[in-house]
C-alpha cells in the first residue's frame, strides 16, 4: 500500500478521535474545569527557533542614547510565545525572584490577551517592563527551561514586550488601575529603587498606607542614576513608577532619611514599620596613588552626572561631565560596562577601555552586556591591574600605570587568583578614569537607627525569610543587605519584606506580640 494513503487513513481516524476530544475539552473549558488549549500543536511549536532581539546597529547606536534593543514586534512575540511548552512542573517559576507565573503570562500572549498577560505579570512584579530589560534571565528563569539546549524561551523579551505594549497603550488611554484605599497601618519605605518600589506596591495591595522617601529629586534610585537610558529608557521607568503611584503609593522626593526625617519623626507621625531599601550607594575607590586627580570619577559620580543629571545634553542640561578623548574604566561588572558604553556615546570620546585584572571568563557582567560593549568597540584589557594614576602639575590625570597579571590558583570565590607578572609594568595614556570596582551600602540611613545590627562589610543583618533586622519594626532589602547586586534580587527581597512586614504588623494587630518586640522565628514562618 501507498505510504501516503496509509498515513491519510490513519489521519482520518486520528482526526475523528481528536474532534471528539476537542468537543469534550471545549465542554470542560466552558465549565471552567480545564485550561484552554491555544496556538500550534506541540510538534510545530518545537520547530520554532528562539527569536533574536532586533537591535540598533552598533555603529549607529553609539551616536545616541536611545534604546539598544528595539523590542519584539507583535508577530515575533507571538511566535516566540508559542515555543513555551507550558510544562506541568515549570522550572522557570522557582528561579524567578519575583515569583512571576511565567507559563501563564506566556499563554495569554498566545491567546492574544495582552491585558491578561500584563495583569499576571503585575500581580507578582510591580516593575515588569524594567525587569524584562535588565534581569540576567540566562542565570534565572531561562536557565532551566526545557528548551535550554536549543535556546530557552525568551522569557525576558516576552515580559518586556507585554509590559511595554501596555505602557504605550496607557499613554493613549489611561488605564483603570485599582486604587487601593489604605485600611491598615502606615509604613515608611526608605529609598525608591527597585526594592523599595516593590515593597511599597505589595504593601499597598495589602491595604497599608505607604509613603516612599527618596533623597534625590526623582524616584527610581539606581534605575535613574545608575542604569543608562540606552538600556532602560527613562519613559519606561517613569511610566512604570506612575502605575505604582496610581495604585495609591505616595512618593516624597528630596527627603534624606536620617537628615530631613529621622526615625523618631516617622514613629511620631504614626509609622508602624520601616523598610530600608537605600541600596549600595557608597562608591569604592582603588586605593592607589593619585586617585584624587581631576578626571577620576567613581562610577556613581560619572553615571549620576550622565543619567540623572543628563550631562550628555550639556549645555542644554546644566550639569557637565568631562571625558576627553580616551577613557579607562576599571572593573568588569555591569556597572563597568555601563560606564564604558556611556563614555563611547559622549562627544569627543575616541577610545573607551576596560581594564580588568582577571579574564573575560571571570567578568561578573551579564553576557549580553559584554557582548554589546564588544560590538560597540569597547577595548578590553584583561589581566591588567592598575597600580598608580599619573597626574600632571595641575592635578589632571595623564595616564594609568598598570601591571600585567596571570591566573594562578583558585581563591575563596572559586575564581583563579590573578598574580602580577614581575617587571611587566606599563602605562596607558588616558584623559579620564572611571572606577567601577564596586559599591557598598551608604551608612547615612543605617547610622540613624539605634541598635541596627550591621556586618563588617557595612551591610544590614536581616532574617532571610522575613527581611526583619535587629530592630523589630525595621525591615531591609536589596543591595543594603549584600552590597551591589541586581535589580531583580532587590525586587525579590522587596517582596519578601512586604510579606514580613504584613506578618509582623498582623501579629501586633491580633495581639500575638507587642509592637517593638522581636518576633519569634516560628511566628514569622511562611505559609507557602
Amino acid at each position: 500500500m501507498d505510504e501516503t494513503k496509509e498515513k491519510r487513513d490513519d489521519t482520518k481516524e486520528e482526526r475523528l478521535k481528536r474532534a471528539k476530544e476537542l468537543a469534550e475539552r471545549k465542554k470542560r473549558e466552558e465549565a471552567g474545569t480545564e485550561k484552554p488549549l491555544v496556538g500550534l500543536p506541540k510538534k510545530e511549536r518545537l520547530k520554532i527557533q528562539r527569536q533574536p532581539m532586533p537591535e540598533q546597529d552598533p555603529m549607529a547606536r553609539i551616536l545616541n542614547f536611545e534604546s539598544v534593543v528595539l523590542g519584539y514586534p507583535a508577530d515575533i512575540a507571538l511566535l516566540e510565545a508559542q515555543r513555551c511548552l507550558g510544562c506541568a512542573n515549570p522550572k522557570c517559576i522557582p528561579l524567578c525572584p519575583a515569583e512571576v507565573n511565567i507559563p501563564a503570562f506566556i499563554l495569554e500572549i498566545v491567546k492574544g490577551n495582552l491585558e491578561g498577560a500584563y495583569a499576571i505579570l503585575k500581580e507578582s512584579n510591580a516593575l515588569p517592563a524594567i525587569c524584562g530589560r535588565v534581569c540576567p534571565q540566562e542565570v534565572q528563569c531561562e536557565m532551566e527551561c526545557l528548551l535550554a539546549k536549543k535556546g530557552p524561551v525568551a522569557i525576558g523579551r516576552l515580559e518586556q514586550f507585554v509590559a511595554e505594549y501596555m505602557l504605550d497603550k496607557f499613554e493613549k488611554e489611561p488605564p483603570t488601575i485599582t486604587r487601593y484605599t489604605p485600611t491598615k497601618e502606615k509604613v515608611a519605605v526608605i529609598g525608591s529603587g527597585p526594592a523599595g518600589i516593590t515593597c511599597a506596591a505589595d504593601l499597598c495591595k495589602l491595604g497599608y498606607d505607604v509613603t516612599v522617601f527618596e533623597s534625590l529629586h526623582k524616584p527610581g534610585g539606581v534605575l535613574v542614576y545608575g542604569i543608562p537610558s540606552f538600556r532602560l529608557p527613562r519613559r519606561i521607568i517613569n511610566a512604570e513608577i506612575k502605575t505604582v503611584e496610581d495604585m495609591g503609593v505616595k512618593f516624597m522626593c528630596n527627603t534624606v532619611f536620617g537628615k530631613s526625617v529621622t526615625l523618631q519623626d516617622l514613629l511620631k507621625e504614626g509609622y508602624k514599620a520601616i523598610f530600608l531599601g537605600t541600596g549600595a550607594g557608597l562608591p569604592s575607590f582603588l586605593g592607589i596613588k593619585g586617585e584624587n586627580a581631576n578626571g577620576v570619577y567613581s562610577a556613581n559620580e560619572f553615571l549620576t552626572r550622565v543619567n540623572l543629571m543628563e550631562a550628555w545634553d550639556f549645555p542644554n542640561a546644566d550639569t557637565p561631565v568631562y571625558v576627553g578623548k580616551k577613557v579607562i574604566t576599571v572593573g568588569a561588572g555591569n556597572t563597568a560596562m555601563d560606564c564604558a558604553r556611556v563614555s563611547l556615546r559622549l562627544l569627543g570620546v575616541k577610545e573607551s577601555h576596560i581594564v580588568y585584572r582577571r579574564t573575560k571568563a571571570e567578568a561578573p557582567a551579564r553576557a549580553e552586556e559584554i557582548e554589546h560593549a564588544e560590538q560597540e568597540g569597547v577595548i578590553f584589557n584583561f589581566l591588567t591591574q592598575p597600580l598608580e594614576i599619573i597626574r600632571d602639575e595641575n592635578n589632571w590625570i595623564k595616564g594609568l600605570k598598570c601591571i600585567k597579571m596571570e591566573l594562578g590558583e583558585p581563591d575563596e570565590s572559586g575564581r583563579r587568583r590573578p598574580v602580577p607578572i614581575p617587571g611587566s609594568e606599563f602605562e596607558i595614556e588616558c584623559d579620564t578614569l572611571l572606577n567601577a570596582v564596586g559599591q557598598s551600602p551608604n551608612p547615612i540611613a543605617m547610622r540613624s537607627i539605634p541598635g541596627l545590627e550591621i556586618t563588617k562589610r557595612g551591610t544590614v543583618v536581616v532574617d532571610e525569610e522575613s527581611m526583619q533586622t535587629s530592630v523589630p519594626y525595621v525591615f531591609a532589602g536589596g543591595d543594603i543587605t549584600v552590597g551591589a547586586s541586581t535589580v531583580i534580587f532587590a525586587v525579590g527581597q522587596g517582596k519578601k519584606a512586604a510579606r514580613g512586614i504584613d506578618r509582623y504588623l498582623s501579629a501586633v494587630r491580633e495581639g500575638k506580640i507587642k509592637w517593638g518586640e522581636k518576633q519569634l522565628k516560628a511566628q514569622l514562618a511562611v505559609s507557602a
Binding site: 533623597s215 534625590l216 529629586h217 542614576y225 522626593c253 528630596n254 527627603t255 534624606v256 537628615k259 530631613s260 526625617v261 550607594g281 557608597l282 562608591p283 575607590f285 586617585e291 584624587n292 581631576n294 578626571g295 570619577y297 567613581s298 556613581n300 559620580e301 549620576t304 552626572r305 543629571m309 543628563e310 545634553d313 550639556f314 549645555p315 542644554n316 542640561a317 546644566d318 550639569t319 557637565p320 568631562y322 562627544l347 569627543g348 595641575n394 592635578n395 551608604n442 551608612p443 547615612i444
Partner: protein, 309 residues
Amino acid sequence: MPETTHLERESLPRLGEITYKRRLSENVVHIDVYAPLIAKKAEPGQFVILRALERGERIPLTVAKTNSENGTITLIFQEVGKTTLALGTLNVGDSLRDIVGPLGNPTPIKKYGNVAVVAGGLGTAEMLPIARAMRQSGNYVISIVGARRADLLILVDEMREVSDELIITTDDGSLGIKGVVTDPLRNLINEGQVDFVITCGPVIMMKFVAQITKEKKIPTYASLNPIMVDGTGMCGACRLNLDGETKFACVDGPDFDAHRVDFDELMMRQKAFVEFEKCALEKWISENRHKLPPEHPLIKHSIRSNPYG
C-alpha cells in the same frame, strides 16, 4: 538696595517658594525659602542642595539662618556662574525646582574660650550662624571679615551683632584695616588671644589661615566647599585629602581640621569643570542679558570658550 517682601497671604507658601529677596552686594543675593522641615532641623554649619530649574545643576548652599516660626531658611549666594545667575533671577513668589536638606554635619559648637571666626567674601554668610552659636555657647567671639573692597563686604551689621569684637579688612583699605584677614589674625595670635579658629572663604585664604595657626598649634576648622553632586555620600565628587586619607565633604564634613587638609589639591579640584562653567555662563548671558543689571560684574567681561575645543 531695593527690598522685596513677601505679600501677606492666607495660604502657606509652596515648598521651595522664595518668600523674601534682597541684594547684599553687586553679585551677592539673599533669599528666604519656604522649607519648614529644613527650617526645623538645620543646625549651624549644615547645608542644602537645590536645583533652581528643571534640568538644572544640584548646588550646595549653606543655611545661613533658620526661621522655624514661619518655616523659612535663609540662603546667600554669589552669582558666579550659570546656576547662581539663574537662581538670582527668581523673585519672591517663584519656587525652586528642588531643595533637600539639611545635609552635612553641624559644626562642633562648644566652649573653647576665645574663638576667632575668620571669613572672606561669601564665607561671611556661612560663618554668621556659627559665630552666633559660638557666642551663645559662652565663647568670646572675635570675627574677622574681609573683602576686596568695602562695597563687597556682606552682613557686616549682622556679624557685629553676633560677635564680641568685629575686625574688618579690605584689600584696598576702603574700610577697616588695609590688607587681608590673616594680618589681624596673626596679631591676635601673637597677643595670645586665640584658643580656637574657624574659617570659611576662598580656599587660598583658608590655606593661609591654616598655615598661621598650625605654627602656633591653635586648633582650626575650615568649612570646605568642593564640587558636589548628590550631597549624600553617593558620588565622591567632593572628596578631599586629609593627610593622605580620603574624606567626603558632604557626609564627613563640611568642617574639617584645617591643619590636615590638602588645600592645593582642593583648589585644583575646584577647577575641574572650569571650561564647561565658562561655556554655560556664556550661553546663559547671551540669552538672558536683559535680566541682569547693567553694572553686574559678569556682564562687564563675558568670556567665550568651547570645552569641546
